[in-house]
């Protein structure tokens, strides 16, 4: 895999005003890079800011502070309509709820072709039709489906339509916000397999946001763990699961139920108590070992290093 940076997020902040004096710091200064062709997983509990991060990266929200660079260009900040259009073509999103994210009054053909029309990617009606048929086939549907409406499809099929719509403009980067959590187990595997296949064929880069940790581990090359608006740990997925360092990551990993009764009988769950953290100074993001970053204070950093050396 090439180690070319596709996306750089630097100290991104997203604060929402919820009243005259109250501010919710949904995302509070996070930094990470996503390399070309990889899948970056973002996990955390609901309300930790993972979806907000995805939505801010694609400019659905304007960032409060910080920088998002896509292929070296700043995503936020003033842009002409033309630049914005160009940017939108390269970054697309797949949404969580396949029931809410498709317009019920549009045919599948029009839903998928919306991006093609906006960007003028088809010069004739024939070409437009052909492109949609091709896309439907890519995602495992067939062309008879093009003239139907979303309510005629099952959840898994709708998610395929959502994927076809994202692919229609040939993006290089796709943000998938919990794309499988609304689907049945057997269908989840179908969609994940499809996403993996498409990644290989089109050299796509994914930001995969989810709370299902076993699926995230399966699909991701690297994983960031979010807690209260901050990334507390970031590492290669195998490394993260083998040597979790931050107490929150440990508690999260120990809480995943695995489909293995013997393991479950002997499970020992650890709980995370934020008050046990060292509060003598503001924690910083530090590299404990190559490519394994943990949010910690100097004291904790020394501790993690020692702990790691003993492994």
């Amino acid at each position: 895999m090439s180690k070319e940076k596709l996306l750089e997020v630097k100290n991104l902040k997203q604060h929402f005003r919820t009243g005259r004096h109250s501010v919710v710091k949904a995302v509070d200064g996070i930094s990470f890079d996503i390399y070309e062709g990889e899948t970056f997983g973002l996990v955390g509990e609901s309300g930790c800011g993972k979806s907000t991060t995805g939505r801010t990266i694609i400019r659905l929200y304007n960032a409060t502070d910080g920088e998002v660079k896509f292929q070296g260009e700043d995503v936020h900040g003033k842009k002409s309509a033309k630049d914005l259009k160009k940017f939108n073509r390269r970054m697309q999103m797949i949404f969580q709820d396949p029931y809410a994210s498709l317009n019920p009054r549009m045919t599948v053909m029009d839903i998928i072709a919306e991006g093609i029309d906006i960007h003028g990617l088809a010069d004739s009606q024939e070409a437009r039709k052909k492109r949609v048929y091709d896309l439907l086939e890519t995602v495992g549907l067939n062309k008879e489906h093009a003239n139907r409406y979303p309510h005629e499809f099952s959840g898994g099929q709708r998610q395929r339509i959502g994927i076809a719509r994202a692919l229609a403009v040939d993006p290089s980067f796709i943000i998938a916000d919990e794309p499988i959590s609304a689907l049945d187990v057997s269908i989840q595997a179908q969609v994940v397999n499809l996403m993996k296949k498409l990644q290989k064929e089109n050299n796509l880069t994914y930001l995969f946001i989810a709370h299902d940790l076993s699926m995230v581990k399966y699909i991701s090359d690297r994983i960031g763990v979010m807690y209260f608006g901050r990334i507390v740990e970031l590492a290669d997925s195998d490394e993260l699961y083998a040597n979790p360092m931050h107490p929150y990551t440990k508690s999260l990993l120990s809480a995943i139920p695995l489909p293995d009764p013997d393991y479950e009988r002997n499970r020992i769950r650890t709980t995370y108590d934020p008050s046990q953290n060292d509060t003598s100074e503001e924690p910083e993001f530090r590299e404990v070992r190559p490519d394994h970053w943990v949010l910690c204070t100097t004291k904790e950093f020394e501790h993690y290093k020692k702990e790691y050396a003993s492994v």
């Binding site: 609901s46 049945d184 076993s214 293995d260 013997d262």
Partner: protein
């Protein structure tokens, strides 16, 4: 152990404009005292309908129990009147619903919602009921219980609300607790807490639990026995070890194969192709045959009966017939069976005792 509940050849249909939907087609199982039975299956497989029928919560019309018996301590609930059912619901059989956001009344203080059952079923005076309510809230691990009884549902987080729902369900020490995807809407850490709580309470009160879920990880955590449902039928039933380490039905293979384990690095998950059948027009023969790569010719003509694998383990697949060809289960499942060979000696006696 004695059976507290026996469901015999239950059939349930819904009358719709499109015609009769046979949602449940001949479901039989029993539930023993103090055990946890997990029912797994995709949405639409009939797992919720089955358990709602046990509490007689199926609206009629359109729903109809066309035949079958639900014997609760020997009494047939199918024939019970609404009045008799009202005495059973909440007292002997209570239900925890999936969505804690919608199963509480937003205009009532949570204390009053918990007290309802106590006052009605146990004829408790209000003051005593309130005291008991505070105890219940403490039991489910809600801090500051005595202040929180007077709060409204919107003042609680999702996990806390689900604890309140659990407290309501437990208020009258039910003999059977039906938990319909109680943790699906919750985060993993909160889910782990609720599951531990339910197991803990079960140990204390010796109630039986029917646990509906589609998360096999949760099943492995809570269940003593597992029933796998597909298209309105139980296709495989056995102890948790039988189902996870020695599955016989291709649908169970598919379910187990489509979940990644944390140490799996296989290139592709084993997905089940296609989608569940339309129950308005159920296919002839075995309903799973069109999605089953191991389907035999006979699957297209005749539905398989339940074959006995062992005293505790039954599966409805023609593959278990003596004339069936020998078929190797997929790699992922075979790996599990190897695990079974190692641990096969540890059986039901140790279940439920967890660290």
């Amino acid at each position: 152990m004695e059976n507290i509940l026996e469901v015999k050849d239950l059939n349930i249909s819904f009358d719709t404009y499109g015609g009769e939907v046979k949602a449940i087609r001949g479901v039989s199982f029993d539930l023993k005292k103090g055990e946890t039975l997990a029912i797994v299956g995709e949405s639409g497989s009939g797992k919720s309908v089955t358990t709602r029928a046990i509490a007689r919560l199926i609206p009629s019309p359109p729903g109809r129990i066309t035949s079958g018996e639900i014997l609760f301590e020997g009494k047939d609930l199918v024939k019970a009147s609404e009045k008799q059912m009202q005495n059973i619901r909440g007292k002997d059989i209570s239900t925890i619903f999936q969505d804690p956001m919608t199963s509480l009344n937003p205009t009532m203080k949570i204390g009053n919602q918990i007290m309802e059952g106590l006052i009605k079923h146990q004829k408790m005076p209000r003051g005593q009921a309130k005291k008991r309510t505070v105890e219940l809230l403490e039991l489910v691990g809600l801090p500051n219980a005595s202040e929180r009884v007077d709060q409204y549902p919107h003042q609680f987080s999702g996990g806390q609300r689900q604890r309140v729902v659990v407290a309501i369900a437990l208020a009258c020490n039910p003999k059977i607790l039906i938990a319909d995807e109680p943790t699906t809407a919750l985060d993993v850490t909160i889910q782990a807490q609720i599951l531990e709580l339910m197991k803990d309470i079960q140990k204390k009160t010796d109630s039986s639990i029917i646990f509906i879920t589609h998360d096999l990880g949760v099943v492995a955590n809570v269940a003593d026995r597992v029933a796998v449902m597909y298209a309105g039928k139980i296709v495989e039933i056995g102890t948790v070890d039988d189902i996870f380490y020695n599955p016989k039905h291709p649908y169970t293979w598919g379910l187990l194969g489509s979940m990644p384990t944390l140490d799996s690095n296989e290139e592709e998950l084993v997905a089940i192709p296609g989608s569940p059948p339309d129950m308005l027009k159920p296919p002839k023969g075995d309903a799973f045959a069109p999605r089953n790569e191991y389907a035999l010719e006979i699957d297209k003509v005749q539905e398989p009966p339940m074959f006995k694998v062992s005293e505790t383990h039954y599966a409805a697949t023609w593959l278990l017939h003596e004339y069936a060809p020998d078929i190797e289960p997929p790699e992922a499942v075979k790996k599990r069976m190897k695990g079974f060979a190692k641990t096969g000696t540890i059986r039901t006696s140790e279940e439920g005792e967890k660290s």
